[in-house]
Symmetry: C2
Subunit: 146 residues, 2 copies
Amino acid sequence: MKMFKLNPNYIVGLIDGEGSFTVYVKNPNSLKKTKRRVVVEPRFYVKFVEKDKEILYELKEYFGCGNVYFQKDSRKNHQNCYRYEVSKRDDLQNIIINFFKKNKLRLFSKKNDLKFFCKIIGMIEKGDHLSLEGLKKIYKIKQKMH
Amino acid sequence: MKMFKLNPNYIVGLIDGEGSFTVYVKNPNSLKKTKRRVVVEPRFYVKFVEKDKEILYELKEYFGCGNVYFQKDSRKNHQNCYRYEVSKRDDLQNIIINFFKKNKLRLFSKKNDLKFFCKIIGMIEKGDHLSLEGLKKIYKIKQKMH
């Protein structure tokens, strides 16, 4: 059996503190044409400054999915960051959501985000995002997050 | 034996993500007279938006020291916060630092902050902050934090 460096309770604490469950949803009410083809994109990520990036690789190893990305920040007094991100839907469902079903988050706002995150993923599964009506519903749910 | 809601590993993760070990040090090079009498003040704190404040009371219960304070934020797009804070030196040494000796932080920057936090508390113990020379030393160490 593989031994992981990270403890599940530690991960829950870290994610309660710094993790994000977020969904990009194209605004269905906007008439502007955007270059982005994707209309709905759920993502789970954790971001840290460069000197703390080691933990992101440990999360990647623990979950066995996702990737670590460099994130430039050119704002004054802001450091470059790295983020661990999972956006593949299968991985989100089978690994990430599954983990947080077994290991419950404690923060109200984080539990709330996860709830709507799961709900939107379920709607994508059913193809709701492919109709304007469905997209509007998803967009409305997204407003309840964070 | 009392059962706590929080698990030590969870706390370590939460603090790695959102906790702060910080030291207010009066600038010994500044000639400006400040109203603040305290010259050095180490503080451990965790801050969350109002809807997540429950966890702060759970931390207070777990550690059996410190307090939860309301922190108004009048900036636009910022929510009012609550923070759990320990500033009593005995509590910092006997409870907080002791906890993190047994339950190691993982993030480089957080471990680094804790290291200098402990160092400064040790110097205060010896009364170093009472001389200008000592205060200058403490001020220099403080620059290495965060």
